[in-house]
Structures are given as C-alpha cells and as structure tokens.
C-alpha cells in the first residue's frame, strides 16, 4: 500500500510540475519515485481494508509491475516536456497495482477504471490520425466493456449467476484474448510506442493478475477460459505472420502469450507460481524488445526499415534478437521454460488437445519470430 501512496505522491508532483516550473528535474523525480515505490513494496508496514489486501501474491505482482514500469521509464528516450503524461502513466500504474490487490468487487471496478481512463488519453497523445483513432477506439470499446463488466457486477449482486460470467468477459477484454482482442492491435499500433510498451507489459499483466484473483474468489470458468486461451494462441501466432507494423506485430505476439497465460489462470491457483514465472518472463522479453530497441529514438514503426539492422547497429539488434528468441521460447532462454511449464501442466491435466494446439501455435510463432529476425540480416536493396 505504501507503494501506492508513493506513486500517488509522485503522480501529483508530476501533475503540478509544469505549474511549479521545475519541469527539467521531473524526469529524475519520476524515475526516482518509481524506484522508491518499488522499494516501498518491501516495507513491512501494510494495512488491509475490506477493499484491498496486499497479500504475498499481489505483492509479487506489484513488484513486477512497478519494476517493469521503472525500467521502461528509464530506458525511454522520447524526451518531451509534457510531464502530465508521466503523471497519467503513474496513475494508470496505480490502477494496475490496485487490480492485483483488490479484495472487494468495487475495488476491482475502480482499479480497472483508474488504469484505463488515463490510457484513453495517453493513446491519443500522438496527435496523428492513427493516434486519435486508437484513442477513440480504445475509449469507446473500453467503456463499453466496462459497462458490461458493471452490468455483470450488478447482476451478481442481484444473485443472478450469469453475472460473474460478464465480469470474466470484461476482464478478458482488458487482457485482450480472443474474441475480445479486436481492440488490441489497433490501439497498440496507433498509440505512441512508449504507451504501447506500457500497455503490452503492465496493463496486460495487471489484467491477468486481476482475472486470476477474481477467479480465486471461487468462480469456475476453466473450460471456457481454456477454450478462449487456445484460440488466442492460434490467432495471435497466425495473424503475426503478415504484419508490417512493429507495434501491431508485438500486439499479436502479446495476444498469443496472453493465451498461454490464461491457460495457467484457468488451471487455477495450484499453478500460480508457474503463472507468475510466465508473466515475469513474458514481461522481461517484451521489456528487452521494447526498452532496448523499440524506444530508441530513430525507430519508426516499419519492420521493413529494419533490414540489415544487424550490420548497422549490432547492439540493439542483438538485444532485439535475444528478446525475440526468449519470447519465441527457444532454449536456453527463459521463454522456453515458461512455455514448457504451460505444456507440462496442461498435459498433466490430460488436456492433450491444448498441448497439440499449443505446440502447433508455438511452432508457427517461433517461425514468425525467426522470420522477423531474419529481416535484420537481409541487406536492404540499395
């Protein structure tokens, strides 16, 4: 909880920074604040209300989220004067953190909103047609989904069993799994890349955390979720085949990975450690890809522009390759073990269908990743 307080403080400072006129320090303040927040997650002084409870698991989630955001922020080279945006980012992060720790359904709803609403705005800060379109889509679809989720909550209170299903659907929307993934590619592609990175790492993981925590309240949607998850793996893998936009490409790979994670979520609390590990490894991979590569200044979103990158800038190319290979699940990189866990767990439960589809999907997606990597080695047509 202290972390949330720290974050809130930093957010407010950032918010008013321009007025106070110490804008040029802000970057350091925010970065430092994030680190302090991360440190604060270790401080023993915790208090639980009936609204939230930072138990062991949610603390791990929190550290993951704050840590990833901190690294992302520190690697971000897009110098821009608008520190309100950083403030919004931090508020959104607060929402994400709260999502991992809610113990009352109202808190879940609020967390989602706190997380989403700043992002509606941030998506549009690119001020291009794409950016605004992304913002609009995110806003309309997002609020629509929120309304459905709320409706579910309401029905739940009215003791109508279908309510929890609607809540799950609302969460699936935030996670971005098929068939509620339609917004993901468009929004990721349209938004400025620093926010895309934030969404594809922090928001996705927070949503996963929220989903698992919600199901932990005692709702049983295993078969449904597993079905959704397997379809997501396939869709994500196949649709990434023909993408020319890097952000969109990452969106689809994220959808596939979300599928893998949702399998673990659906299996239940018994595999929570595996879920955390997978989330961490996924976050790490995307962090490397985005942070060490995507956030570099001279990068425009076009994959074709990456031709021969390996021969131009070895450093970022190698980082990108490593991240990609990890996401692809090539041993000995961590991604392999994550996927391996999913396969092993689902085979253990006799879900041979899932295993088969998962193997096919990861075959395709491995191919997709390596095809992407191969681009880095092809000399551009002079």
């Amino acid at each position: 909880m202290t972390a949330v307080l720290v974050l809130a403080g930093v957010g407010i400072i950032a918010m008013v920074s321009d007025a106070m006129g110490f804008g040029r320090w802000m970057r350091w303040v925010v970065g430092f604040g994030l680190i302090v927040a991360f440190a604060a997650t270790f401080c023993p002084w915790e208090f639980a209300t009936h609204m939230w409870e930072f138990d062991h698991v949610s603390l791990i989630w929190t550290r993951m989220l704050i840590g990833f955001s901190a690294v992302l922020y520190s690697l971000d080279t897009h110098e821009e004067g608008h520190y309100q945006r950083d403030a919004l980012l931090i508020f959104s992060l607060i929402g994400a953190v709260l999502m991992t720790a809610f113990s009352h359904i109202l808190m879940l709803f609020l967390a989602i909103e706190i997380m989403s609403i700043p992002l509606y705005v941030l998506a549009g800060t690119g001020d291009t047609h794409h950016s605004l379109e992304a913002s609009l889509k995110y806003f309309i679809l997002g609020s629509f989904a929120t309304a459905i989720l709320l409706f579910g909550i309401a029905l739940g209170f009215a003791a109508i069993p279908a309510g929890s299903l609607l809540v799950v659907i609302g969460l699936c929307f935030k996670v971005g799994v098929v068939p509620f993934h339609l917004w993901v590619p468009d929004v990721y592609q349209g938004s400025p890349i620093r926010f895309t990175a934030f969404m594809s790492i922090v928001v996705k993981l927070a949503a996963i955390a929220g989903l698992s925590r919600f199901l932990a309240l005692g709702f049983e949607y295993g078969p449904l979720l597993i079905g959704i998850a397997t379809i997501s793996m396939i869709i994500g893998a196949f649709l990434a085949l023909h993408q020319s936009s890097f952000k969109r490409w990452m969106a689809y790979s994220g959808i596939a990975h979300a599928g893998f994670m949702v399998v673990l979520v659906a299996i239940g609390e018994s595999v929570l450690p595996s879920l955390l590990l997978y989330a961490f490894i996924y976050g790490l991979g995307s962090l490397v890809v985005f942070g060490f590569f995507g956030l570099q200044k001279d990068f425009n979103d076009d994959i074709e522009a990456l031709k021969g990158l390996f021969f131009r800038q070895k450093g970022s190319a190698v980082a990108l390759i490593l991240g990609m290979l990890s996401l692809a699940g090539i041993p000995p990189l961590p991604g392999f073990f994550a996927k391996f866990l999913v396969l092993a767990h689902s085979w253990n439960l006799g879900l041979s269908g899932v295993v088969t589809i998962a193997i096919i999907a990861s075959l395709v997606s491995t191919f997709v990743y390596l095809k992407f990597i191969a681009v880095l080695f092809t000399q551009p047509k002079a």
């Binding site: 889509k137 459905i148 929307f173 068939p179 339609l182 449904l224």
Partner: protein, 562 residues
C-alpha cells in the same frame, strides 16, 4: 640416360627384388612346405575378429612368382615404351602399386584380405586405364571398368557376409576346415560359392560383366599386357582355385561356372573375328581364353586351369608387348588395316609375335597346346557338349590369330608411316617371354598323338585357307560393333538408371515432397492472410462482434453452465 629413366629403373629393381623373394618362397615351400607370416589383428567386433597374415603355399607362391616375373619383364619393357611420356614417374608408381595389391591378393590368408587386394588392383586398373587423362573417353573407359568391377565386388562381399554368418570367420584355414562339417548342397554354401563367382565374372571378365575389358585397352599397352592379360584378370581363377574346397561341395554352382566359361569363350572368340583394332582382338581373345580357364575350373579341374593361366600369362603378355612394339613402331597406329608387311621392317618383333600367336592358337610344341589340351581333356570328362564347343572355339581362335598375323605382318604396306624396330630395352623382354611362351609347356607334357596330329593338320588347314584372304587381299571385314553387349547394357541398365534419377529428382523431390512441405507453408500463411480480414478496423464491427460473443456466451452459459 639414368637420370631420365630413374623412376622406371627403381621400379623395375623393386619388382625384381620381389621376384627373387618369390623364388625364395617358392623354393622354401617346395622343400619345407607351406608357412604363414602374421601381419596384424585388423579388427574385432562382438565375437568376430579378422586377423591378417600372409600365407605361402604352392598355389600362392606359384601366383606370386608368375606375377612378379611377368611384372618385372613388363616394367623393363615399359622403360622403353614410356620413354617419351612426361608422367613416367607416376606411371611406374601406379605399376608398383598394382604389383603390391596383386601380391596382397594372392598372399592374404583370409578372404577379406584377398578382397582388399581385389579392390586394390581394380583401383590401379582404373588409374592406369585413365592414365592419359586428357582424353575424356579414356576416363570413361576407366570409370566403366571400375564400376563394373564393383558390381562383381558386390557379389564377392555379399558372399563374404554369408560366409561370416555361416562359419563366423573368413580365414582360409578355419573356413576350409569348418566346411567339412557342412553337408553337400547346403544352401548357404551354394549361396557363398555363387556370390563369389559373381565376383569372378567381374574381375575375370566373364559373361555378363566382360565388356569392360575391351574398353580397358585405352590404357598404355604394357598395362594391357600386365593387368588385363597376365595377372589381374586371372585373380578370379586364383580365387576359385583357392576356394575349390567350397566349390567341390556345390556341384550345381560348378556346372554354372563351367557353362558361363564356355559361353564366354565362344562370345569372346566370335567377337574377336571381326575386330580391326589389334589390341581389341587380343582383348577379346583374352576374354575367350579366360573362358577356357573358368570352364576348366567348372569342370572341377583346377590344375589345367592354373597351367593354362601361366602359359596364357606368358604368351598373351608376349602378344600384347609385341603389339605394343608394333604400335610403337607405327607411331601409335592400332588399326590392323593400316599396317601390313611389317615382317620386313620389324623382323624381331615379327618372330616373337609369331611364337606368341602359335602358342595362342595351340600349335604344338608351344606351351598353349599343352595347357589347352589339358583343359579340353578335363572338360571332356565333365561334359562332351562343352568339349566340342571348346574345340570349335579353338578353331575360331586359330582363325582370328591367323587373320591378325596376316593383316599385320604380311601383304603390302597399307600406310605411309615408316615402321622401325623397337629399342633393345623393349625387345629383350619380348625374347625372354617368347622363350617362356614356347617352352613353358614342357613343365607338364602329356602327349596324345591324336590330339597332336589333329591339331597340326587343322592349323595347317586354317592358315592355308586364311592366307589368301587376309595376307594377299587383306579383305576388310571389320565390324567393331559386332555382337556388342554394350549397346544392350546401355539400353537396359544405364539409361534407365539415369532416367529414373532425373525423374525422381524432378518428380518426387520437387513436385511431391517440396510441394507437400511448401503446401503446409502456403496453408499457414494463407490462413494468416485470411484471418486478417477479421480486423476490419471499423469500430461498429468490433462492437457488434463483442456483443455477439457476449450473447453467445450468455446463451451457452444458460444452456450448459460451465
């Protein structure tokens, strides 16, 4: 002089030393009996082991002596014959290598060691046939020789496999002692002997694998004399003689062997009648004579075969070297119809060649008469039909020999190249060989007056009849493609294989496998492409989709609660 010929001289000396060794071994074997010299434990795998040693007994030492003797003479001869070739040194080291492998072949004390020599001499034959490598057709001939020999070798090695499975060893001593326990007509035994004989048909140019031998004449003439007349091609004879213990227990195979031999003798002789190239004539005659030996082996008579092998080694080497000297004199000309009347220009060559010719056509008292006589007798015991066939073959032999002699040495000169007698370094070996060819028969003289008289009269008749046709008029009845098995083999075997190769390559590999594999790729990427239409980009559509799915889930939930 020395400087120019050092390679040849060294090589000849080496072989001469080997020859002395062979004499010593020969002597020791005939005084104190057979003895062995172990070399190394080659390899041992799960129970079965192959040790490698040299075995000196009467058979191997006989071969050893003959090979090194003839080889020495031919080495000396080659010094003169190859005098102007830039690659002499290489030539001589190939020759030495050949002698080495040949010795390995005859002295090894196990079949696997014999196989090593067996393939080794094949290799040297390849190298020497293709010695003049700037001529592509020579290379092709060399390749043909090697591959066809390999076909035979496959039979050999399969035979060895069966031998291993049956006796668990390939050592002569063990196999020949174990074979006594095996009942006659045992299937394994039949298989072994037959497969080994397949090897023989390759190496000793029997039907159906003999066609490489005539092409092998592409090599320098001394090579033809040494490898393709005197020594290598007789390896098969040696092998059957060596494993006669096995063959005796497989009479059916023996019959096959005999008839293959007879057929080969006939085919060789018939084809020889129509050749225009002097070396080709000799080559086919070699095929035919080898047929004689094999037939005799098939008749179960080992000694006559070996006897004929030795005499044949002498007179055929003599004939080849004589032909070589003729070719040398004619400046590389091999077509008999461009020669003629050479007996004036090269009297010495003519006389020794005549000796060889008479020996080949089996005229008493030359060696050929006695050995052929012995073979005929042996075959007569086995099968009269084969006997009369071989008599006919001998007559054909006499005819083509006469034709060759008359065309080359008699009549008028038919080309303007002025032939000259060869240098002493070439003629001396010729004389030595001539003496051997003439006298070797008395090693084992069994005179039968009927045979003697019959042969003399017959030969006189033949020579008288053919003289006007070839010596006076030199009728051109050449037909080099006469009875060509090559055309058949090409049509039936070579072309189909190559064609199927192209077919598989283009059809199975490209069309079937690649398209199947590629098909999956297409499928995947097509799927990826088509799924993209799901993301139409229109907000309205997305809203509809979400609502629809929510509805679907709700309905599904109400029907069947998860």
């Amino acid at each position: 002089m020395i400087k120019k010929h050092w390679a040849g001289i060294v090589a000849s000396l080496v072989v001469f030393l080997l020859f002395l060794t062979s004499l010593a071994a020969f002597n020791r074997v005939h005084t104190t009996g057979a003895f062995e010299v172990p070399l190394l434990n080659w390899f041992a795998v799960s129970g079965m082991s192959v040790t490698w040693g040299l075995l000196f007994d009467s058979l191997s030492t006989l071969m050893f002596t003959m090979i090194t003797g003839v080889a020495f003479l031919i080495h000396v001869y080659s010094i003169g014959y190859m005098a102007d070739d830039d690659n002499r040194a290489r030539f001589f080291w190939y020759l030495n290598l050949f002698v080495f492998f040949m010795v390995i072949l005859v002295l090894s004390d196990n079949f696997l060691g014999m196989f090593v020599g067996w393939e080794g001499v094949g290799l040297c034959s390849y190298l020497l046939i293709g010695f003049w490598s700037n001529n592509r057709s020579y290379l092709t001939a060399a390749k043909k020789a090697f591959v066809m020999n390999r076909i035979g070798d496959l039979g050999f090695i399969l035979g060895l496999l069966v031998m291993f499975l049956t006796f668990g060893s390939v050592q002569f001593s063990e196999v020949f002692s174990l074979v006594q326990q095996v009942p006659a007509n045992d299937i394994a035994l039949i298989l072994i002997t037959f497969l080994l004989f397949v090897g023989v048909t390759g190496k000793s140019a029997q039907l159906p694998l003999f066609t490489w031998l005539p092409d092998a004449m592409a090599g320098p003439t001394p090579v033809s004399a040494l490898i393709h007349a005197a020594t290598m091609v007789t390896a098969g004879i040696y092998m059957i003689a060596r494993s006669s213990a096995l063959y005796e227990l497989a009479p059916q195979v023996l019959t096959i062997v005999m008839w293959v031999g007879v057929a080969t003798a006939v085919v060789g002789a018939v084809i020889a009648l129509r050749q225009s190239d002097i070396k080709k004539v000799l080559a086919y005659s070699t095929v035919s004579q080898l047929g004689f030996m094999v037939a005799s082996l098939g008749a179960g008579a080992t000694f006559p075969a070996l006897f004929h092998m030795v005499t044949h080694a002498f007179f055929k080497a003599l004939l080849f070297l004589g032909a070589g000297s003729v070719i040398h004199g004619m400046g590389g000309e091999q077509d008999m119809y461009k020669m003629g009347g050479l007996k004036r220009d090269m009297p010495l060559t003519f006389s020794v060649f005549l000796v060889g010719a008479l020996a080949l056509s089996g005229c008493p008292p030359f060696s050929g008469f006695f050995s052929k006589d012995a073979i005929l007798l042996a075959v007569h015991h086995a099968s009269p039909i084969a006997f009369y066939t071989l008599i006919g073959v001998s007559i054909l032999t006499a005819i083509y020999v006469a034709r060759m002699v008359f065309l080359v040495f008699f009549g008028s000169q038919r080309s303007d190249t002025h032939a000259h007698e060869s240098p002493a370094v070439m003629t001396v070996p010729l004389v030595v060989l001539a003496v051997l060819a003439a006298g070797a028969g008395f090693y084992h003289p069994e005179l039968e007056l009927i045979m003697l008289g019959g042969t003399v009269i017959l030969l006189a008749l033949i020579w008288g009849l053919t003289y006007p046709r070839y010596a006076v008029k030199a009728v051109d009845d050449r037909c080099d493609q006469f009875l060509s098995f090559d055309l058949v083999y090409h049509a039936l075997i070579v072309t189909p294989i190559l064609a199927s190769g192209r077919l598989i390559h283009s059809f199975f590999d490209r069309d079937i496998i690649d398209n199947t594999a590629g098909g999956f790729g297409e499928l995947i990427s097509g799927l990826g492409q088509s799924l993209r239409s799901l993301h139409s980009g229109s907000i309205g559509f997305y809203l509809w989709m979400i609502t629809a799915y929510v509805a679907v889930f709700l309905i599904g939930f109400s029907i069947w609660p998860f």
